[in-house]
Amino acid sequence: MRRRNGNRRTELVLLAAVCAAVLAVAYGLGIFLPAEALEGNFLQAGQPPSLEHFFGTDSLGRDLFWRTLKGLSVSMAVGIAASLVSAGVAVLAGLAAASGSKIADAAVGWLTDLVMSVPHTVLVLLISFALGRGLLGLLAGIAATHWCSLARLVRGEVLKLRACHYVALSRRLGKSGGWILIHHLLPHLLPQLLVGMVLTFPHAILHEASISFLGYGLPPEQPAIGIILSESLRYLSAGMWWPALLPGAALVLLVLLADKLGSCLERLLDPASAQE
């Protein structure tokens, strides 16, 4: 066995903090990037990676490292917004389903089935098409497809809690539904919801990149990962490997970090594994 300094809980907290810090730094760098860093210089078009340009330059001479960073921050913003919206929808849907009304429960269940019966990518394309592509369509599409699993989670959790003795007792003592919601249900739901939201985030980012790659979503002059990769496809047969390989790898790294952060939080907040 490996010797450990500190217990597992401290390790998890540190790991989560490191993941969060790296994500925050990447986001901050992308947001506060000066506009000059993104401008093209035709004299330096199509250069392979070097110390001056970490990821090389694209066919218009734009530095791919900064472009990737900017794209990642755009993706993260879309991901955060989409996971917030879908968490909100999920809470409403989950609470409605678990409110005790049979009709509401059936309606939400049916709506979930409806969303699940069309492949997500196709549904996002359709929604984006309806809203005339662009950022709004992208956000709406991703939010509309990501609430289902979280809503199921919330519903299951509320149903479980409502069956608990202390909740039943509280009701017998004459507490109102709202009081029970705030004092008994929410303290249990919030950590779960937070974890669910953080775990939705990487999915949302992946979807954003895929949809932009297909040419929906952000306009082509915007530095987004999907757009950089779809441009790289054109120069692939000419042997330009760096625009395809490196930005994509950065995206994968980002998704892995976000995923790690989510699973750390889950293990910290879930009472079943928090004391391990």
Partner: protein, 331 residues
């Protein structure tokens, strides 16, 4: 045996009613979304045809979309045409949408079937391996691999495979479903498979980790059970236990999971087909949306929903046949 058939018939009947209702709802939602979009199907059609549109053609297309009718009637009008098999005419390809879907679905079916078989076999095999060696290095190595693969976007994996195997090594073609310039009748099966290999690999990487992790979990549950402990005490070897007790408990859950993943399969095929310019339904739906081809977009959306529902039906049936708990509940 007779009871089984009756039960399966009941599952099919119950699910079919649900499926028809869901498909109707999908058609309504899709129609509303398309109507809400700034793209006008009649305008698009005229635009793509250039000046060659006669006034009769225009009237016909306006009649198809029910231009002057109120929204609800427009939808019903369109729905009745669809139910009669008239999916409209694609403005990008200038052919009936039903023909395009039929032709491209065969291409997509080949791709998805190859990817599905590969990912099911690979997922199940690796899952069993991980469960067998739980906690040891093969398990940990494969588990990390599965987690990483589930964070990799399908289109980027496709790009990397394309780069490595087509551009650098030159083993595989850059794209399409047959050699460029070859006539349709002359393409051999070998050539088709050769063009199918990389897209199918990309698509299967998307879903096999899910199946593998699920199989691993199930197998570990089985191996920790009392009857396996008893088998071990009786002196059965590790592989014999896996063959006699493990596989039975794990095979059908994995199979129904594989059928239930038709939605991701179709979604992934949109990306994989776009990367490899493979002429299937997935690349057609992406093109249809970009080119404002409303009837094609609607047609493929409906078709994809049907595809997913059929997958779910098979998954439900498998559960009904295999899982004794569900069997009892339904009887």
């Amino acid at each position: 045996m007779k009871g089984t058939v009756g039960r399966l018939a009941r599952i099919v009947a119950a699910y079919s009613i649900k499926m028809v209702l869901l498909l109707l709802a999908v058609s309504a939602v899709a129609f509303v979304l398309v109507t809400a979009s700034p793209v006008d199907p009649v305008q698009q059609y005229v635009l793509h045809m250039g000046t060659a549109v006669s006034s009769e053609q225009r009237e016909e297309i306006e009649d198809y979309w029910g231009v002057d009718e109120p929204p609800a009637e427009r939808y019903l009008h369109w729905l009745s045409r669809v139910l009669h098999g008239d999916l409209g005419e694609s403005s990008l390809y200038r052919r009936p949408v039903a023909d395009i879907i039929g032709e491209r679905f065969l291409n997509s079916l080949a791709l998805m079937a190859a990817a599905w078989t590969l990912s099911s076999l690979l997922g199940f095999g690796l899952g069993c391996l991980m469960g067998r060696y739980r906690g040891r290095w093969p398990d940990r190595l494969l588990k990390s691999l599965c987690y990483i693969l589930s964070s990799v976007p399908a289109f980027w994996l496709g790009l990397v495979l394309l780069l490595v195997f087509s551009v650098w090594l030159g083993w595989f073609p850059i794209g399409f479903s047959s050699p460029i310039g070859a006539l349709r009748g002359e393409v051999t099966l070998g050539q088709r498979l050769y063009h199918l290999a990389l897209p199918a690999l990309t698509l299967s990487a998307l879903s096999f980790s899910n199946i593998a992790l699920h199989t691993r979990q199930k197998l570990i549950e089985v191996l920790e059970s009392d009857y396996v402990l008893f088998a071990r005490a009786r002196g059965e070897g590790e592989w014999a236990i896996l063959r006699r007790h493990g596989l039975r408990g794990v095979l059908f859950p994995a199979l129904s999971l594989a059928f239930a993943s038709f939605s991701e399969l179709f979604g992934g095929s949109v990306l994989a087909e776009t990367v490899f310019s493979y002429p299937g339904l997935g690349s057609a739906v992406a093109e249809a949306g970009l080119g404002g081809d409303v009837p094609l977009l609607l047609g493929i959306t409906l078709f994809s929903a049907l595809f997913v529902c059929v997958g779910n039906l098979i998954a439900n049936l498998l559960y009904g046949v295999v899982d004794p708990k569900i069997r009892e509940v339904q009887e």
